[in-house]
Symmetry: D2
Subunit: 120 residues, 4 copies
């Protein structure tokens, strides 16, 4: 049965990649520093899809099914290493995520005119 | 109420960051290319915590509460941009995640001796 | 006396950063893996200057003296770690550079219509 | 005739990649933002060589001729985009490099006990 964002918890994602690593005895490779490098390496692979495109071209490329499928796969790679780093480090990602979002909400008040502030 | 990985869906994460962007009229900045760059920039910030440490030192640093809290916050940043890219591109992350994991399971059979293959 | 690109050899750059590391007994930190991470971290810092800008805005920002000075400093950081990695690994960068350029010249013939090929 | 670091100036490197771009009419693609992304993408490719290796394994891998040749080629890619960004932005890299090194010399005095300071 296909998984979907509306019904999949972060915990299920974390468990799935941990089981994958355990079945291959790869936990010894999944050390924080290796995983941090791996997140950055996969992040660069997402960028490759947009390397030589203008924003307008990138927007348009993103509409194409094959680009969307490729970017989805690279995003999955980034997420997998994020989940494993959280597993290894004992981090609750949802807790960290909503805590950071709350911090950002204070730092960037919704009623400020950001356009005026940022674009000159 | 604190969120936790066991109960938080990917969909809730996606909605939260989308609402944050909408409230600030930031959707215009959240174009695929910008978000891809942002994921890579935040990924580099995770690495900074381990830049000059050996694996053993990195493992040990990861046990310290303040390092753990900092890495959790950087991971939250990476995830936020991943969620927004998925929002903007109409990608179901859970679907992509488990599809990629299934692909990896075939590519890296669990019964192969990976240690013998990889370490010389 | 100010150095300039027309008169400074790659060798001088390599020697200067090696002397800097030696004087601080930092050679023990300058191991290939650390340096590779450091190049990526500094590269991300260059990107930060353009993270939320369109190409047109980035072009314009690059004309401003303070942005130019900041980008120049980030580029210097990237180069420093490249030079140190070459030092540590015994790599002649000029040889590698012109060899790669010759390879690219064959791979991307100058008389091909790249615009027609790449832009749809 | 083979180029070498002792005799090659930064200016020669900058000119070579500029001529390469001009011959293909690629200057239109070589905008600051694109080049910044390209530096980061190539930097990630250097890291890939060390992604799953411990420092000790990375040190040892770096001794092998084929790894050295591959890393040299990735370094050449990073440098090429650095040179082009400097070309496009009108940056003198040698000037920026030695200015940054001088700044670092003040920031990190040579007579300080960095080991004691950094390692706990």
């Amino acid at each position: 049965m296909k998984k979907c964002d509306a019904e999949t918890t972060v915990g299920e994602m974390k468990e799935a990649v941990l089981a994958f690593a355990k079945a291959r005895d790869w936990e010894k490779y999944h050390r924080p520093k290796h995983l941090a490098m791996s997140i950055a390496i996969e992040a660069a692979e997402i960028m490759e899809h947009f390397q030589w495109l203008s924003e307008a071209q990138a927007d348009e490329a993103m509409q194409r099914d094959e680009v969307k499928a490729e970017v989805a796969e690279e995003l999955a790679d980034v997420l997998m290493y994020c989940m494993e780093l959280a597993n290894v480090a004992g981090i609750d990602l949802a807790e960290a995520y909503f805590a950071k979002l709350a911090k950002n909400e204070k730092r960037f008040p919704a009623d400020e005119d950001w356009k005026a502030k940022w674009e000159r």
